[in-house]
Each structure stands twice: as C-alpha cells, then as structure tokens.
C-alpha cells in the first residue's frame, strides 16, 4: 500500500508542476521524547505567524517525557527564503517510543492517578502519530538531541518508515547550545539526510532551518 501512496505523492507533485493549485504542505515534526519538537514548533510559530502571545503557541515543553501527548496542527505558517514564500502546516507530534511506563511519570513527582492518565494519553498520541506517517504528512522534520547517541532503534525505525514511504525528510540536530552536543555524530549515523544544527530553545541557526525547510519541502 505504501508504494501506492508514494506514487500518489509523485502524481500530486506532477500536477503542481503543470499549474494545479498547491495545497499547503503538512509537515510532521517527529522524534524521540525530549528532543525539542514542541520547542521548535513554538519557535517557528513565533517567527512565521501572527502569534503574539503564549496562548497561540503549540504547547508547553518540559523535562518530563511525553509532555506532548496529542498531535497538534498549526496552519498558516509562511516561511520566507530568497524572496520566495512557502505555506505550510506544522504538526507537532508526541515523542515516539516503543514503551510507555506510568511509573516514569511518578519519578517527576506526578501522582499515580495523573501518571496513569498521562501514560494513556501518551500511548494514544504515539499510535496516532505512527498512523499519520502512513499518508497524512507530506514531509517530516526529524528532531534529534545532539547530545545523545543518534543510532537508536527508534530513530532507525522511524527514519526507515519515512524512507519506505518516500516522504521527504530533514534532520535537525537540536541542543547545539549544550557542551555535549555532537552534530557530526548524527551526520555520520544518517549520511543520506540533510542534517541542520539548531538550538530551538535559544533560537540559534533558525535561518538555516528555514532555508532547509524551503529547499526540502518548497
């Protein structure tokens, strides 16, 4: 079924070349928990929309894993680069993992009932995010924490799915503001992808991020 969707995507792109109306691309922001997905999408919203206050942002971020437990879509994002504009929708997804244990939330002083609720919401969100990869996103920004070993089973699995679906993707090596950051480690692990260093928290190198988004998804 995935090759049918791949051909559908190619057909739509061909239609666009011949003057069909372009629909805004839906770009999913994927990655393991705590890699900075929500922080990045908040930064993009602040930079590229009319958002003026915190209520317009995608959500809160914290050190507690699975802070984002439901995929959220922000439309009407306009990225400008080289005097060209591209219109996008950005989807902030929950961090993907193959396991969710409610006891992990208790370690962050969350009471048991809330921990169980969070765990249930996180599993629903991850299932939804995995489902969206099968045809509901036009591109993927894959966030990695550049202070950690990138060669994990989850990273390999998700990028393998993205590749098998023929979805254009870009890797952001986040947290370059931290001393332990190593962007080259990510480049060496996944040489077939554009890897852009960024600190979503500090807003460092966002120009390069927008340039890469424009080149990969425009």
């Amino acid at each position: 079924m995935s090759y049918l969707k791949s051909w559908k995507r190619r057909f739509v792109n061909l239609f666009d070349v011949f003057g069909g109306e372009e629909a805004p691309e839906s770009i999913g922001v994927y990655g393991p928990p705590n890699s900075g997905k929500t922080t990045l999408t908040n930064q993009i919203i602040q930079d590229c929309t009319e958002a003026e206050d915190k209520d317009d942002l995608m959500g809160s971020s914290s050190e507690v894993p699975h802070e984002t437990r439901k995929a959220k879509k922000q439309e009407d994002i306009t990225i400008e680069h080289n005097n060209e504009e591209i219109a996008l929708s950005i989807i902030d997804t929950p961090g993907v993992d193959t396991q969710v244990d409610y006891e992990d939330f208790i370690e962050f002083d969350i009471d048991e009932d809330e921990a169980v609720d969070r765990s249930r919401e996180a599993t629903e969100g991850i299932a939804e995010a995995m489902h969206w990869l099968r045809g509901d996103v036009d591109g993927v920004i894959y966030m990695m924490d550049s202070t950690k070993d990138p060669f994990t089973q989850v990273n390999t699995m998700i990028l393998g799915i993205i590749e098998s679906q023929d979805i254009p993707a870009l890797i952001l090596a986040n947290k370059i503001d931290l001393e332990e950051s190593s962007v080259d480690r990510i480049r060496n692990a996944f040489p077939q992808y554009d890897v852009v260093p960024v600190s979503a928290l500090q807003g460092d190198n966002m120009d390069e991020v927008y340039k890469s988004i424009s080149e990969n998804f425009g």
Binding site: M1, S2, V96, D97, T98, Q99, V100, D101, Y102, V116, S119, R120, T123, E124, I126, A127, M130, H131, L133, R134, F151, Q153, T156, M157, G160, I161, E163, S164, Q165, N188, A189, F190, P191, Q192
Partner: protein, 129 residues
C-alpha cells in the same frame, strides 16, 4: 529457554521463541504483529530470523501502544535489530546497510528487559529476568 536469577537468587525462566524466515514469509502482517505482542505480553522474547518491514514495524508500534496499560501489566516492548552487514562502518557501508531492504535479525522482548551491548567482535543481547 534461558534461565536468569532474580534478586533473590532464584532462577527465573525466560522463554525465547525463534520464528524462521519461511514461517514469516507465509504470515500476514497482522498475524506477525499479534504473535509478537501476545508473546511479549506473556514475558517471552521473540527472535525473528527475517525481521519486519518498515511498515510492519510502524503498525507494531501502533498496536503495542493500544495494549499498554497498568491493568494489563504491560508497558511496551524493546526491539533490537542486528544488521547482517556491519552498520557502523564507513560512509559507503552505512548508506548500503541503511538502504538494504532485506530484513534484519530482530529480537523483540518486554520493555526494560532487553538490552544490546556491542563489543569489538560481537553484539550481545542481554535479557533480564
């Protein structure tokens, strides 16, 4: 079956189910996923000779998430894949192995009970009881 000792020194059995390539070839996606999830929920470790396709892995994660819950005493699974080719070689071998559509030997077990340790000459899967 492998035996480990728990903290009290009593042996804890871990059942390892090997699923060969020919059997996997004859199974539909949902059959494979059900086999894996049911086995792992039963605290077994499953070794797939041929592994899963990317689409199957995605569906496995999706269905695993639907099974997780404290009432089911199940918090998910651990997947470890072992390339037939050396995956941490130079740039060319890395590209080749990442584009290698052949499935890899895959070990799937209960969450937090399966760990991979890489030594110079081999990769070890450690299963905790």
């Amino acid at each position: 079956m492998s035996e480990e000792n728990n903290s009290g020194g009593n042996p804890v059995s871990v059942q390892i189910d090997f699923v060969g390539k020919s059997r996997l070839k004859n199974m539909k996606t949902m059959e494979k996923i059900r086999l894996i999830i049911d086995s792992v929920k039963d605290n077994k470790v499953v070794v797939l000779e041929a592994g899963l396709t990317p689409d199957e892995e995605g569906r496995l994660v999706e269905m695993t998430m639907q099974q997780i819950g404290p009432e089911q005493n199940f918090s998910g699974l651990e997947i470890e894949r072992y390339n037939r080719e050396q995956s941490k070689g130079g740039l060319l071998s890395r590209i080749v192995s990442s584009n290698n559509k052949q499935s890899k030997l895959t070990i799937i077990g209960p969450a937090n009970k399966l760990q991979t340790v890489e030594n110079e000459d081999m990769m070890q899967a450690i299963i905790s009881g």
